[in-house]
Symmetry: C2
DNA sequence: TTATCTCCTACTAAATTAGTCGGTATTTTG
DNA sequence: CAAAATACCGACTAATTTAGTAGGAGATAA
């Protein structure tokens, strides 16, 4: 529930892109400077965002990144989920290794945790990038 | 947004206590066995929960822990927040009247992150332990 | 008096985080 | 064409956090 700087940086950068949605590609160096984020780290964050098709890129001078869809069509859940792995998921104890609730897990209180996780997911899905600009 | 096992264990244990709310004190060993959680780890988790006055304890044989208030009066936010530190917090977000970043940062998108954080907090505050039992 | 309990501190192995560094490939621009 | 700017890629690392263990001390009920 504490967000990592990865999520924070990623979300901030996505908001930055949303604010400049009409301007075409924005180089990461601009975002890194503006938001005071390490460029190298931001690059790796964007590799993940691109893989999830949340952003598209253009190489070369005057290249950069842009949102792959309009800000109304990207919700915060997708971003956090992409950067943090299974967003709003609890661990469930099972012998051996960890299993996420929602997969095969027989703990008695699991439905309760699932309820909580779903409430968070719903709250995040309800917030679009377009709600966070202006 | 991924919950640590600390939060997961803590929340599961709190739900366990809520389910047995009328039965008086429950020893941690019972919870640890039932939910397959390491006892020593659970003890430390409960030290935190107790400090936050979410549970009360009784020492000695036939002692144990119980919720400090009725399940209707304890929300999930309090639990997660207690165990995870500032729940639903981003880096570079206000806490009180200070801005947190680690570095000094003049982040422009901060209000947006705050909006997201508040949505999550609200969702969690809305869920009481009593909603998670039965 | 003995078995359960809470409570406390210290240690640790493993994982994750938050980077850095150095280099390659691609594209625009002077 | 050459240089600069950009995405892209992998390896390394230091610090922190996580998820425990271990070994007790003190309280209480049976």
């Amino acid at each position: 529930m504490k967000f990592s700087t990865r999520s924070t940086y990623g979300l901030k950068a996505m908001i930055h892109l949303a604010q400049n949605w009409q301007k075409g590609s924005i180089p990461l160096s601009a975002i890194a400077n503006n938001e005071n984020i390490s460029l190298g780290y931001l690059e790796r964050i964007f590799a993940v965002l691109k893989k999830a098709k949340l952003v598209k890129s253009e190489k070369g001078a005057s290249g950069g990144y842009a949102l792959s869809r309009s800000p109304e069509d990207i919700d915060v859940y997708s971003i956090i989920n992409t950067l943090e792995g299974e967003a709003s998921s609890f661990h469930c104890v099972e012998k051996g290794d960890k299993v996420y609730c929602g997969k095969k897990c027989e703990c008695s209180v699991e439905p309760a945790l699932l309820k909580v996780a779903r409430a968070i997911s719903a709250a995040l899905k309800d917030i679009k990038l377009s709600d966070l600009i202006g």
